[in-house]
């Protein structure tokens, strides 16, 4: 039997355009807060996992070297996990396996990005191979636009309906962000605002897209022994799953999206989840684009393929619905990429321990956290629960 692992505390920066702090100080802000949250001190930490997007994002390579002091990691065992956009969840996975292996009782996971220091879309373009795809798949929106159109066409979903459902998602998340003290974009948005916002790549408009954010997130994972000693509610890791598709965008189906389906399935199997819509109480889905969020609902088994827009418009995934998704406002309102997946894990942990404050889903016991990365390529999932 594998060792049980818990998330015992979280720390986030106030995400946004943080010109008031340097990149290491941004990291320090999250790390200080996780120690305040848990009552643990750096000397309790047996290992540190650091991660970010690629070096080009801020122009600093191997950032764990730069943040040694800020992460309180001097003299500590260290690992550096990077898997593109899914980095945050991969950091959480690394910390999980580290504690589960018996090699550590307490592992500090730190994800970070200071996106106002660089040019994120230029960086994303360099994720593509330099010979065949870089010239026509520039940046992230182009990829997600094609994916959403493929999906709508495959299931013959009328353009009006996906437009309405995507706008509905944007309105919901922007509303939720007001309840999250750490969220970046806080603006009142109506359906009409979304539909009339500036086009980015058809059908995606400005209010369908996440911002660039500066932010960091720190999460402490601990063994059962330490978790119980702390004497506070903790979030138990119930399942982890991760999969990646081929690099070339045309090589795999992005609608019946195997990496998303299998990553979720691996995590569900471990957690014993058979009907995610009924059993999960909240989901923090990685949603940099409104349209893509609906594809995840289908791949994660929240509904049948092609049906997500209907359920969205019926409010199933809204704050008061059957399965609230991203009560934090999600990636759509806050996206410091290397931290973003870890923020999903942190938010899921806050929900199942009843510490989510204004955006708490009442009575949440089982939560899904997810991140996506690469050229629509990588999906990582972690299931957290209030009971061991």
């Amino acid at each position: 039997m594998a060792r049980a692992v818990a998330v015992v505390g979280v720390g986030q920066t106030h995400h946004g355009r943080r010109m008031d702090v340097s990149y290491p100080d941004l990291v320090r802000e999250a790390v200080v807060r996780v120690f305040e949250d848990t009552g643990l001190s750096p000397k309790d930490v047996d290992g540190v996992v650091s991660g970010t997007m690629p070096s080009m994002m801020e122009g600093v390579a191997l950032t764990h070297l730069y943040f040694a002091e800020a992460m309180q990691a001097v003299g500590k065992p260290i690992l550096k996990t990077e898997t593109c956009g899914s980095t945050g969840v991969s950091i959480a996975h690394t910390a999980f396996y580290w504690v589960a292996s018996g090699m550590a009782e307490v592992v500090l996971a730190v994800g970070h990005e200071k996106m106002y220091e660089g040019d994120s879309q230029a960086t994303m373009t360099t994720v593509l191979d330099p010979f065949y795809q870089r010239y026509f798949l520039a940046g992230a929106p182009g990829v997600f636009s094609m994916q959403s159109q493929l999906w709508a066409t495959r299931y013959k979903i009328p353009q009006d309906k996906i437009r309405d459902a995507a706008a509905f998602i944007s309105v919901t998340h922007h509303q939720s962000a007001f309840d999250n003290p750490y969220a970046h974009i806080k603006m009142k948005v109506t359906m009409e605002d979304v539909k009339n916002s500036r086009i980015i790549v058809y059908p995606i408009r400005l209010l369908d897209v996440c911002p660039n954010s500066d932010g960091a997130c720190a999460v402490i994972f601990a063994s059962e022994k330490v978790a119980k000693r702390l004497g506070r509610k903790v979030a138990w890791v119930k399942g982890v799953g991760y999969r990646g598709d081929e690099q070339f965008f045309g090589d795999s189906d992005k609608v019946v999206w195997q990496s998303a389906i299998e990553a979720a399935k691996q995590a569900y199997d471990q957690a014993g989840i058979k009907d995610p819509l009924k059993e999960l109480d909240v989901a923090e889905v990685y949603n940099p684009f409104t349209y893509q969020e609906m594809i995840f609902y289908e791949c994660f088994g929240f509904c049948e393929f092609g049906k997500a827009p209907d359920l969205v418009l019926r409010g199933i995934f809204s704050r008061e619905g059957e399965l609230p998704v991203c009560p934090s406002g999600g990636v759509l309102c806050t996206n410091p990429i290397g931290a973003t997946g870890l923020i999903r894990v942190a938010e899921a942990a806050m929900q199942v321990t009843g510490r989510a404050g204004e955006h708490q889903v009442p009575g949440a016991k089982l939560a899904l956290a997810h991140a996506m990365g690469g050229i629509d390529q990588f999906n990582g999932v972690m299931i957290l629960g209030s009971e061991l």
């Binding site: 997007m53 730069y66 260290i78």
Partner: protein, 380 residues
């Protein structure tokens, strides 16, 4: 008691450059390692790769590009940045956790498509204070070398002897591309790089791809008659600002201590029979001897003078030729592990050392003046 983990098969390629493209090279080593283990990629529990974006020929998110040839498509996996021994450690811990029985560990570095080493290491510098000075790994190493010589009276000749030994050892290594019989005088007479370092005392830029199949004890015994056990490992990170650190008392001591405790090693110079260590700069091998406990502080020069670490010595160090002979920056740690594996199994061919090797030490480092270290102990 954590589960035991073994390396059951290895494959690697190297050299300065090649006509093969990245995908073909990566595919070839991964396939070879899997075939040697007699396991298909569909049966491998998980894949942990190691590659760095900034070293990756102009491609960000290295894992996005190399996921296919690494055999990782639709397998559970992850990637480590900077140091490929991180991937070995993480792969081992995934098996120790009981969640997987096997792991494929892959390190990828196509140096011929990358900028010069120090164009890349300059990017480790913080953009405000260090980078305008041009501080890169070689400059930091030169400061460290000067301190090392001044503090302990180590001579330039003693430092050059490391290059003499390693470049000679490399003659037996088909993957090494800088090799030959040199005298210490010739090493010191090579082109000055950053005073007091000369060209042959600084590691070159190379290609290297490495693949290893790891397995739990039960699975390892099914896959091979001669598993090589991962008996201990440790990593440690030092402070970032080199002025804040004692450059002669670094975190290698800590990383080694963790690995030794796990492996039950109390007298390293006696219990370790061979070491493959990462010495991007010749003098660092002497400094690492001290921090690994092979000799006392300031005694590294004596150890090389006495020939203890020669291929025929009591404690051979870098019989492969080490990093000075072949330096694929990211994957170099895994190549050290592969060499130790081959030596333990007596499959190192011309490079096979004369003494019996039951326990071997593997070391990797990156960052300015050895900011981060990883130590792995392998055993028969």
């Amino acid at each position: 008691m954590p589960r035991k983990v073994a390396i059951v098969s290895v494959a690697q390629i190297g050299g300065a450059d090649s006509k093969e493209n990245f995908y073909d090279q990566a595919y070839r080593v991964v396939k070879e390692a899997l075939d040697k283990a007699g396991i298909s990629r569909e049966k491998v529990g998980c894949v942990v790769t190691a590659a760095s974006d900034i070293f990756h020929g102009g491609i960000s998110c290295a894992n996005a590009y190399h996921w296919d040839p690494a055999g990782a498509v639709l397998r559970n996996g992850s990637r480590q940045d900077a140091e490929s021994l991180f991937a070995l450690v993480y792969g081992a811990m995934r098996i120790m956790s009981g969640h997987y029985d096997t792991a494929l560990v892959v390190g990828l570095c196509k140096g011929s498509e990358n900028p010069e080493n120090d164009t890349c290491t300059l990017m480790f510098s913080d953009p405000f204070y260090f980078r305008p000075l041009g501080l890169n790994e070689t400059m930091a190493a030169a400061l460290q070398m000067r301190l090392f010589m001044d503090h302990y009276g180590i001579t330039r000749e003693q430092c050059a002897k490391v290059a003499v030994k390693n470049l000679r050892n490399a003659l037996g290594n088909p993957y090494a591309h800088r090799k030959g019989i040199y005298s210490a005088e010739e090493i010191l007479a090579s082109r000055p790089v950053v005073e007091p370092l000369t060209e042959l005392e600084c590691a070159p830029k190379s290609e290297g791809m490495a693949a290893l199949v790891l397995a739990s004890e039960e699975m390892a015994r099914k896959l091979t008659d001669r598993p090589v056990w991962i008996e201990g490992f440790g990593t440690s990170l030092d402070a970032y600002w080199i002025g804040d650190r004692d450059l002669l008392q670094g975190q290698l001591t800590n990383a080694a201590k963790r690995a030794y405790e796990m492996a039950g090693i109390t007298a390293p110079s006696e219990q370790i029979h061979l070491a493959e260590i990462t010495e991007p700069y010749a003098f660092q091998e002497l400094l690492w001897y001290e921090q690994l406990g092979f000799c006392g502080p300031g005694q590294g020069g004596k150890l090389i003078d006495q020939g203890v670490t020669e291929k025929g010595g009591l404690l051979p160090v870098n019989p492969s030729g080490g990093t000075l002979a072949w330096n694929p920056y990211v994957s170099r740690g895994l190549h050290r592990a592969i060499e130790a594996f081959l030596q333990i199994r007596e499959e190192a061919g011309e490079r096979q050392v004369h003494r019996e090797v039951k326990t071997a030490l593997v070391h990797g480092t990156h960052g300015f003046a050895g900011q981060c270290h990883t130590v792995v102990i392998l055993g028969s």
